[in-house]
């Protein structure tokens, strides 16, 4: 995949995310108003997983392109190009990141509604992809 392809794919992902988010919010309202609606709950879970998969793919693409993790997610808005060079952007081996994320999902600090780490406010799955990252409460 060339850099241009990667950037195009990121744009596609962002469009998919933009389309998905309102769906997720609408489903959340349905489930909030009627927690017994099993079908809506199931679809909501699927959509959240879909968002999560897209986020992960985008994170990997951005890391490959040299973007850094800013406050919350890998965000290209305020990247200082000089700083990229100083940051270890190596991606952790898949087994490592999978193990890390499974520990996250069982952690009391894991916020299930958004799949984020509460002490860091980051998306746990993205964060676990970066070789140099570490768990704020020492689980990995």
């Amino acid at each position: 995949m060339t850099k241009k392809d990667e950037l195009n794919r990121i744009k596609e992902i962002e469009i998919q995310q933009l389309l998905l988010l309102p769906e997720v919010e609408a489903l959340r309202s349905v489930v909030n108003n009627n927690p017994k609606d099993a079908i809506a709950s199931e679809i909501l879970e699927e959509k959240i997983d879909e968002l999560s998969t897209l986020r992960k793919e985008k994170a990997l693409l951005l890391l490959n392109l040299g973007f850094q993790i800013t406050g919350i997610s890998i965000d290209e808005t305020f990247v200082d190009t000089e700083m990229w060079k100083q940051i270890d952007l190596a991606v952790a081996p898949l087994e490592t990141s999978n193990l890390r994320y499974s520990l996250c999902t069982n952690c009391p600090e894991f916020v299930t509604i958004s799949k984020q780490c509460k002490p860091l406010g980051v998306f746990a799955e993205e964060y676990s992809l970066i070789e140099s990252s570490s768990c704020p409460i020492g689980k990995w």
């Binding site: 962002e14 995310q17 933009l18 988010l21 997720v24 919010e25 959340r28 909030n32 968002l51 986020r55 850094q68 993790i69 800013t70 406050g71 919350i72 997610s73 965000d75 808005t77 305020f78 990247v79 200082d80 000089e82 700083m83 916020v111 299930t112 509604i113 958004s114 984020q116 509460k118 002490p119 860091l120 406010g121 998306f123 704020p136």
Partner: protein, 302 residues
């Protein structure tokens, strides 16, 4: 339906929008909840702004330049809190979506049910005047607040400790925000216990709120939908901004208060001061720095 009560805290400096803000807030509320106001109104001697004379609006006034600064104003407005279930801080130039109260309470409970201790905050949407007519711009996005990490911003941050806040487009379903917007803070009634710092003129208010709320154990979260609008100041046209800025009329007093204000921020942060008008003890300043991915000592952001 259970009736809830919301305390709305407003501080105003020669703002012609103040009465309209209060009336719009009442008019656009659902009618299902009790809305009470605590207001501080600082006005020019020869051009008084009238606070609406309503049973649910408690206020104190001063003639400028007496009691200048958003810190003292919010501190006084906060003192009118009277046991309400929820607390909302806004600016004196705000507008609202219909049923804003129901949306905010529902968002608060949604996060609470998810095991969080919510404070909802975001940059409000925009309203403006065109040909003397009020216009609300579409309010589809609800940004979270991050920090600009350019070299210049980090140098400034190192110097004055004010976090260079910026609206970040939330395209990935993030719920956390690293900074606080003084124009939109919603949380439980207990927020009144975190009294606004009297020495803050304006700059530094949001940085101090961010560290104070976080160290008092609150989770800084983005509302699911933006329901409040703000009249952003137009530097080129005071007329359409519909308010005055203290620095343009009371330069000497404002400059001296700014020095005092920055010194207060530095005092709290550098000395890790826990207590009245300062940090809480449920989380540490270091934990906030880790959460926000910043370092007050080195000026690092990100």
């Amino acid at each position: 339906m259970v009736v809830a009560s919301i305390f709305v805290q407003v501080s105003s400096f020669q703002d012609y929008e103040l009465p309209l803000t209060i009336l719009d807030c009442i008019e656009k509320s659902s009618g299902n909840n009790i809305i009470n106001f605590g207001v501080f109104n600082c006005y020019f001697e020869n051009d008084k702004i009238e606070v609406p004379n309503l049973y649910n609006v408690k206020f104190e006034e001063s003639v400028a330049p007496n009691k200048l600064g958003v810190g003292i104003g919010r501190y006084i407005a906060n003192s009118f809190y009277n046991g309400e279930n929820y607390y909302l801080q806004i600016d004196s130039h705000s507008r609202f979506d219909q049923n804003w109260d129901e949306f905010l309470i529902s968002d608060y409970l949604y996060y609470k049910d998810a095991g969080l201790n919510p404070i909802l905050t975001t940059y409000p949407g925009i309203y403006m005047y065109e040909d003397d007519k009020e216009k609300l711009l579409s309010n589809d996005s609800t940004p979270y607040i991050g920090f600009n990490n350019s070299k210049e911003s980090q140098a400034q941050f190192l110097k004055d400790k004010i976090l260079p806040q910026a609206a970040m487009y939330n395209k990935e379903g993030n719920i956390f925000t690293k900074g606080v917007s003084g124009a939109h803070i919603f949380g439980p009634g207990d927020l009144h216990l975190i009294e606004p710092n009297k020495k803050i003129l304006h700059w530094g208010e949001e940085t101090l709120y961010s560290v104070r709320f976080y160290t008092h154990g609150y989770d800084l979260l983005v509302p699911r939908k933006n329901n409040i609008y703000h009249l952003y100041y137009n530097q080129d046209n005071e007329e359409i901004s519909r308010r005055k800025l203290p620095g343009n009329y009371f330069k000497q007093e404002t400059e001296s208060l700014l020095v005092e204000s920055l010194a207060e921020l530095a005092r709290v942060i550098d000395n890790n001061v826990i207590g009245d008008q300062a940090l809480g003890s449920k989380r540490t300043l270091d934990e906030y720095q880790r959460y926000a991915n910043i370092d007050f000592k080195t000026g690092r952001i990100g």
